[in-house]
């Protein structure tokens, strides 16, 4: 078994009893002890809980009754996911002592699948404010170059997966917070369709743009985690009441005959990307063509349209959520969080409604543009991970991102490693599918990953 296995590899080794759940967990804990002081992916480790989970898994394996492919697999949760009896802080001093009574639905589902909880992971404050060194816990650092950011807000999850401290983890995505860290940390991350995975028990940033989902080293591992996380939940009013397909069954079917829409204007006109990112996109196009997919040019509304709609919905809903504390305890928020969410208090109700009207228009425009394609291919970020800045900054409002279109439309999207830039930092590519077409999305992402060498390269730590 490689030093850091994938979830799929570990599952095979556990099934063959080549390694036990307790041995695997202890190996991860040793990696965390050695590596995390320089990476700060964890806000809280839960060693006793981890060993208890691992021991329970071991008992099941010894009885010949493992729960499934995730039984005994060490993971961790973004620290906005409620974990019963275990501190959940949203990386904020405002919740420094918050201990929930109950697990988030997705935490409970992953626990029921047999995963081993290693701890709680760093996040941007309340999933929006970061990176910020003035918070009670330091921000996570990029394992590929620790002077560089991870992107956020699932910063700890991206870093911990890339560093091999966990085999997979939970994230959330309101404007790119799973896909951004996946791209900057060179791992796989999927934002499923809105409503595919429950938001219940996950501290919200917004109501209508939040998505929960996994990050892991490979697409297959994301599929395994998503299988456990997905499903209708009456506790989440936005939960989609649809059957959950098998996300892994068709993973290796390839892309021959699929129609992939390249949204070229996103990265050549709307928000120009650097040469490394351009190369990754060009490489993805070539790979898909070689594999028998048809590449078509697709035009969507500009990134600035999605930014205007998505950002204003995001900050307005976020402000509504934080309004009581923003009015009475604003100084206790981190500077970045306070600045970003403050804008939401300045937007009128009428303008929020206009944003919602625009949202319906944008959904229709993307649906129309996708009538003759199965998937979209876009850039993930304009550059590799950027260096930390000495002072936290406000949002880069002049630079629209590539992720938020698919939070506005709610369709599933994921990023995978598309290569590396000059400084050895990873670059990602993004794929998006039609609503509830996660199996197709995962299949296409896996097809790219399987024929590229990027999964063989880990950060040198």
């Amino acid at each position: 078994m490689s030093e850091v296995p994938t979830i799929a590899e570990a599952a095979r080794q556990l099934a063959r009893r080549a390694i036990s759940p307790v041995e695997l967990t202890r190996a991860m804990q040793q990696r965390i002890e050695r590596l995390d002081p320089a990476i700060n992916a964890f806000i809280l480790q839960t060693p006793e809980r981890a060993l208890a989970d691992a021991s329970a898994a071991e008992t099941r394996f010894m009885a010949g009754a493992p729960l499934g492919p995730l039984d005994g697999i060490p993971i961790a949760h973004k620290d906005i996911y409620n974990t019963a009896g275990i501190r959940t802080t949203a990386h904020s001093r405002l919740l420094a002592d918050n201990v929930p009574d109950a697990d988030a639905t997705t935490v409970a589902k992953l626990r029921a699948a047999g995963t081993v909880m290693l701890g709680k992971l760093a996040t941007h404050e309340f999933a929006i404010g970061g990176p910020d060194f003035a918070l009670p816990w330091p921000p996570a650092r990029n394992p590929w170059n620790r002077e560089h950011v991870t992107a956020g807000s699932s910063s700890g999850t991206g870093a911990a997966v890339a560093a091999g401290m966990i085999l997979g983890g939970t994230g959330s995505d309101t404007g790119g917070s799973i896909r951004g860290p996946a791209a900057f940390c060179g791992v796989a991350g999927i934002k499923p369709t809105y409503g595919r995975c429950s938001r219940a028990g996950v501290l919200p940033l917004t109501y209508s743009m939040d998505h929960t989902g996994p990050l892991a080293w490979t697409v297959e591992d994301c599929a395994l985690l998503l299988q456990a996380m997905a499903g209708h939940d009456a506790a989440d009013p936005a939960s989609a009441n649809r059957p959950v397909p098998d996300f892994t069954a068709g993973l290796r079917r390839g892309v021959a005959g699929l129609r992939i829409g390249l949204v070229r204007h996103f990265h050549e006109t709307d928000q120009k990307v650097n040469p490394a990112v351009q190369q990754a996109i060009d490489r993805a196009v070539a790979v898909y063509r070689d594999q028998g997919a048809e590449i078509r040019e697709v035009t969507l509304p500009s990134l600035f349209e999605f930014q205007a709609c998505g950002f204003l919905i995001l900050v307005t809903e976020a402000f509504a959520l934080h309004e009581p504390w923003m009015r009475t305890r604003r100084a206790e928020y981190g500077r970045t969080m306070a600045a970003r969410v403050s804008y939401g208090g300045l937007i009128s109700g009428a303008d929020y409604v206009q944003a919602l009207r625009r949202r319906r228009e944008l959904c229709a425009a993307v649906a129309h543009a996708m009538e003759d394609v199965d998937l979209l291919l876009t850039a993930a970020a304009a550059t590799e991970a950027t260096p930390f800045l000495p002072e936290p900054t406000g949002p880069q409002l002049d630079k629209p991102g590539f992720y938020i279109p698919f939070n506005v439309t709610g369709q599933p999207a994921m990023t995978v490693c598309g290569g590396f830039g000059e400084g050895g930092l990873p670059v990602g590519i993004q794929l998006a599918a039609k609503p509830f077409a996660e199996p197709l999305l995962l299949r296409a992402a896996h097809a790219f990953e399987a024929v590229t060498p990027w999964r063989e390269r880990r950060p040198l730590l």
Binding site: Y194, F304, L346, R357
Partner: protein, 69 residues
């Protein structure tokens, strides 16, 4: 890029929101406000939307596929 809202009017928006950033924080927020104004103009559009243009009240993704092909 400079905001069209005056600093005095921006301060009024801040007061209306009921938040109390420092003078420096208000200045930083004001710097970004020009971009927000641009976003608001985009959303309001060059001409009014027809009355039938409904908001996404209950967010339901469009163009759903049945079998996830």
């Amino acid at each position: 890029m400079k905001a069209r809202t005056t600093e005095a009017d921006f301060a009024a928006l801040i007061r209306h929101a009921g938040i109390s950033p420092s003078e420096q924080q208000i200045a930083e927020l004001y710097e970004g406000w020009a971009w927000i104004e641009q976003m608001l103009e985009r959303l309001r559009g060059p001409s009014p939307r027809p009355r039938e243009a409904e908001p996404a009240h209950v967010f339901v993704p469009l163009a759903v596929v049945e079998d996830g092909r």
